[in-house]
Amino acid sequence: MLKYNSVNELAIEAEKRGITISELAIEDQAESMEISPLELYEKMEVNFEVMKQSVSEGMKKDQKSMSGLTGGEGYLMNSYAQNSGGGLCGDFLSKAIAKALAVAGCNASMGRIVAAPTAGSCGILPGCLVSLYEDRNFDEKTLIMSMFTAGAVGMVIANRASIAGAEGGCQAECGSAAAMAAAALVEVMGGTPSACADACAMALSNQMGLVCDPVAGLVEIPCIKRNVSGLVIAFSCADMALAGIKAKIPCDECIDAMKEVGDAMASTLKETAGGGLATTPTGIKLKEKVFDE
């Protein structure tokens, strides 16, 4: 059985056997959970279904968070993408940005989401995969399988470092989600397992040091928009890896560095709303607006 303590080892094992990381992971998980691979696949299919629903739920014009601080971002971005011919980022990417906003907004409005790996970072993986499904006609089965690759990478990060903002800052939440998504994207594009690991490493490097500083302690500001940066990083790092660009620092070392940075981070910057954007004059005003009514 796999130990999930090295992305490098996962990639080497998959390449040795001529299979994908997702095939390796589903086989291993089936064995350790004593569930058939088909049942595991079907469970993941349900998760993908929920992701698609969160996209459409969060895309509604009147979507509003519980606190009232945020809402409607997915709708605005999607309308802009449609009406401006894709804006600066182009049709596909701006619509993907809208999807990440929609899912993160769905979460903030007490809608149903799939934590991936957490609720705060729940927009990144669906933003990437649902976009490929809806806007690029990718095969659904390939996309669902790639979620096992994302999951395997996430397990290594959880085992080696952390996926909790309270322990490692936002780099551990949105950073991990982007790394997981980057690996999945490389796989669905037919990249090698080691290219998956490269994409992962680059995504982690690009969010190294990101703090968790939620205004009023709520999963809204800046979390919803950080799902967008995570998504863009996932796409760009996957494309770099597919282009043959190698990560100069191996993935496992990036994870260890992320842990070291997270440990060194002040506790005010780890989900306590004690610093960063949370304690800016406007951040404090917004907090008072929510809680002093």
Partner: protein, 242 residues
Amino acid sequence: MTRKNVSQIRFLNNKGETVNVNVFDIIGPVMIGPSSSHTAGAVRLGRVVNKLIDDRPLKKLEITLSGSFAKTYKGHGTDRALLAGIMGYKSYSPEIRDAHEIAKKRGIDYSFLKENIKGAHPNTARIQYFLEDGTDGMMQGASIGGGNILVQRINGMNVDFNGENTTILVMHEDKPGVIASVTNMMHWEYEDLNISNFHLSRQEKGGEAIMTIEIDGLPPETIVDEIRGIEHVKNAILIKRV
């Protein structure tokens, strides 16, 4: 007494052990947002009370929020999550958002109080419930992150369980031999049942006492009736993973 066939005992996973992180801990769970600790964990705390109530009609609830729960409950929907859990909804039920309306429709008289419970974890809730049949009870627990919970007090007595494993709560009179009667019966009737954690608490010598028994795997529901039949046992409740 005849021993029950081992195959009647269903296990949660391969060897009845707590499994390490699996792929669905990372891609999942499916949950109602926005926060695993302030929303999903709060639903699970509520669900413990739902098990304690055991389908008896509920009349009134007094819910005390402490620490971060007291400060941020509105924006996280912690109040809705606790109510929904008490009414039996799960952390992925879309009804959580409408928990206030559903509770009112069910005629439940509920109130939320803010109080700093001394020495408690920052995300602590104390739920007092009053039933139509005149009985009442309380549970205090904390949401400790990532949707994980810790149940700390029931009816004024200390307990200690996390709702991950199968837990049997036995309310009984503090009399010699009751623990032995319960555990002997469990071993005799269900030979594969393994106790992974045991905790006893009592109000006073000879008074009301509570056993918290965590076990590997999932026993048949009948085990509760069998424990209830033991002398000096007042009630037994089986709490599967909440």
